[in-house]
């Protein structure tokens, strides 16, 4: 393949994000239908199935390149390898609240974080780290962690979560973890804090 028209045709099919119609090709290549037919035949020959890693395909009323079917496994390994991206700070916070307090509702998570947890909890749901666990008495959806969560954190069970006291900045507090988290969250959000009603 070296005819200049065929080379330009190849470039067009390569670079076009969508299948290209014959009319579009004629206009872009500024050639006659007969010339295009010849170039196309040459290109089809060069990319006949089995010869190369790419094939010329006719789809949706146009021409396009596609990867050869037998390269699919490699392509999948390259582009679709299962990924476990690092947790963002918002996701880590949301996940820790669910892990320690489960089952817990989204409004509670929001109150504890002081800011909305909607986007973070959607991502965690999508990735299968948390799942729905019924509804609270007020009708809010409750969340809990999944077996995948335990696997990804290398935990045998929820009992293996790190002791909160190791990270606890206020060990003198004796109240329940949930209450303390809520109190701290409300202080962050600028809401009423028991200690300083005037503030």
């Amino acid at each position: 393949m070296s005819a200049e028209l065929t080379r330009r045709l190849e470039a067009l099919l390569f670079v076009a994000p969508e299948p290209v119609t014959g009319a579009e090709l004629l206009e872009a290549l500024e050639c006659e239908p007969g010339e295009l037919d010849l170039a196309l035949a040459e290109l089809r020959g060069a990319y006949a199935p089995g010869l190369r890693g790419i094939e010329v395909k006719e789809v949706a009323g146009g021409l396009t390149f596609a990867t050869a079917p037998d390269a699919e496994d490699s392509v999948r390994r390259l582009l679709a390898k299962p990924r476990t991206p690092p947790l963002t700070p918002a996701q880590a916070e949301t996940l820790s609240i669910v892990a320690y307090l489960q089952p817990v509702s989204r409004p509670e998570i929001t109150r504890i974080r002081g800011v909305s947890a909607d986007s973070a909890s959607s991502t965690l749901l999508e990735r299968g780290l948390i799942e729905e666990a019924g509804r609270s008495q007020f009708g809010a959806v409750l969340y809990r962690t999944t077996p995948l969560f335990l696997k990804l954190f290398g935990l045998a069970s929820l009992q293996d979560l790190p002791e909160v006291t190791a990270w606890d900045p206020s060990p003198e507090e004796t109240a329940d973890l949930r209450d303390r988290l809520l109190k701290a969250g409300e202080a962050r959000a600028g809401g009423p804090v028991g200690a300083d009603p005037a503030g």
Binding site: T84, S96, R113, T146, F153, G154, P169, R180, L181
Partner: protein
């Protein structure tokens, strides 16, 4: 130095002559940089550019580098006298060296810029593919609970929850001086103004800060409530005209006249 800089003739208060001569005299401290109006130098330069039809500051960087360096020198000289030792170090020769270093540095990147522009032009014809990934890859394959391996550190969860337990420190306001304005103060201010007749809101809050303006408005509402004043405003943000309603003598006389 480029031709234009060499051609630049100046006619300043302290100096008349070519720019490069001024530069030399400044560097030899024979002309006091503090007395040179650098803005006038810039204007002269712009005039030259304009006369030549080359008013393109993008290509004028050499001059700009020189002027910027002179400005920096001048600003150093303008520092308070306590900083004397700072420019004692700064011998005329060093000033020239610094100017030279500036010019060389600017020149370096200007040439590098030419190189990059050439590279970009050479790559001009190459186009990369921008198609979406094939449909069979659209669905992201996530690990399932069977095959997943531990990738996250549980300490991350403890740390996150510990951070959430932290009570934020109360915001300290001691360092702020709170300007206190009371309604009572503004009321008496308004009343004293109104004793002299009608006034505008602008008169009442002349040069006052925002808090005072707000409290004055409250006081005005209070006066209205008490029946001591009425006000009119022709439109949004228009002037507010305040009229006293107190039964002062002339008002009573006027009312009596109308009544008769």
């Amino acid at each position: 130095m480029t031709a234009i800089i060499e051609e630049l003739e100046l006619d300043l208060e302290v100096f008349t002559g070519p720019f490069d001569l001024l530069l030399t005299l400044v560097l030899r401290e024979e002309v006091d940089l503090l007395e040179v109006e650098l803005a006038d130098v810039v204007i002269s330069y712009l005039d030259v550019l304009e006369a030549r039809g080359e008013l393109d500051l993008d290509v004028a960087t050499e001059f700009l580098v020189l002027i910027a360096a002179l400005l920096e020198l001048k600003s150093r000289l303008m520092l308070p006298r306590e900083e004397e030792e700072l420019f004692e170090d700064f011998a005329p020769g060093e000033a020239a060296e610094e100017l030279l270093a500036r010019m060389l540095e600017a020149r370096r990147y200007r040439h590098a810029a030419d190189h990059l522009a050439e590279r970009l032009a050479a790559e001009h014809g190459y186009r990369f593919r921008a198609a979406a990934p094939p449909a069979f890859l659209k669905k992201v394959v996530l690990p399932d609970a069977e095959t997943a391996r531990a990738v996250y550190d549980p300490a991350q969860l403890g740390k996150a929850v510990g951070g959430l337990l932290r009570l934020p420190e109360a915001i300290a306001l001691e360092h702020l001086t709170i300007h206190r304005v009371t309604v009572a103060e503004r009321l008496s201010h308004l009343r004293s103004l109104l004793k002299r007749g009608a006034c505008t809101f602008t008169d009442a809050v002349k040069d006052a800060d925002r808090v005072t303006v707000a409290v004055t408005l409250f006081s005005l509402l209070e006066l209205y409530k008490q029946g001591e004043a009425t006000w009119t405003q022709d439109g949004t943000f228009a002037e507010i005209h305040i009229t006293p309603c107190s039964p002062r003598e002339e008002v009573i006389r006027e009312l009596a006249g109308v009544g008769a």
